[in-house]
């Protein structure tokens, strides 16, 4: 059973964030994303916001599984999330050693356009209000401000 807590263990998590630990199984990854997106719908986020969160979630989870946990079948990912009508915060922490986001080549340069990998970070940053990595880089915070909340 996934662990669930309503306190926050990371000082950057919002108060009352829900914290869960999931494995790499596709079903639990989709189910948790659906929970977050359902809560966004209840809080009045527009369809485009939910599209954005699902995309950023997929990219962050993929990075956690492949680059962080190196595809270990027993790898786990800690997710902390909180949604209110103003902001959605999702923290994703893997078990890896982290990385330097600045070391990722710009995939939009002409010479990198036909490289099949390296676009996840670009998409996270494009679709979220803010993307913050905690050193050493194995924790990413996806932060999305609800455009429908009127600031």
């Amino acid at each position: 059973m996934p662990q669930q807590r309503h306190d926050h263990c990371d000082p950057r998590d919002p108060p009352h964030a829900i914290v869960r630990t999931i494995g790499h199984e596709r079903r639990s990854i989709v189910r948790l994303c659906d929970e977050i997106i359902d809560e966004m719908a209840r809080c009045g986020y527009p369809d485009a916001a939910r599209f954005a969160l699902r995309l950023a979630w997929e990219e962050a989870i993929s990075n956690a599984i492949h680059h962080g946990n190196r595809d270990r079948p027993d790898g786990t990912i800690e997710v902390a999330w909180h949604v209110d009508s103003r902001r959605t915060c999702v923290r994703i922490t893997d078990q890896g050693e982290g990385f330097d986001p600045a070391s990722i080549p710009d995939p939009t340069l002409d010479e990198n356009l036909d490289c099949p990998t390296g676009r996840g970070l670009l998409l996270m940053r494009a679709y979220m209000t803010r993307v913050v990595f905690d050193p050493p880089g194995n924790t990413v915070h996806l932060i999305y401000d609800n455009p429908a909340s009127g600031g």
């Binding site: 995309l55 997929e58 990219e59 356009l113 036909d114 490289c115 099949p116 990998t117 676009r119 998409l123």
Partner: protein, 119 residues
């Protein structure tokens, strides 16, 4: 061992192979790998591949799906073939613009325009 269910709907029109996706969300990396293999087999079997990929049913895709498309594009170019993308909704076309992949791929609004663009 059970046969995998295809993730694609495939039909031929003249010399062109038209591919549509079964899934609305192209996010699961196992499915993306299967899609890459299925389209790769089409490209391998055709000495002069002309492929149209329609996104008519697709609501979401990830960077892994973009990666699979780039690999397919490279293989088709390697055989002097042609690849066209069509029927991409506004949210997903934005993903292509952000990644600048709208410059790598020939993207058409609809299947009819895409079919007419093959030479």
């Amino acid at each position: 061992m059970t046969a995998q269910q295809s993730r694609l709907r495939i039909r031929r029109q003249d010399q062109i192979t038209i591919v549509e996706f079964v899934d609305r969300n192209i996010l699961d990396e196992a499915n993306i790998a299967q899609i890459g293999e299925e389209i790769g087999a089409i490209v391998n079997d055709d000495p002069n591949p002309k492929l149209l990929i329609s996104f008519a049913n697709v609501d979401h895709l990830s960077s892994a799906a973009l990666g699979a498309l780039i690999t397919i594009n490279s293989r088709i170019k390697g055989k002097d073939g042609q690849l066209r993308l069509a029927d991409i909704n506004n949210q997903i076309i934005e993903v292509f613009r952000i990644t600048r992949l709208d410059r790598l791929f020939q993207i058409h609004p609809g299947t009819r325009e895409a079919l007419a663009s093959f030479t």
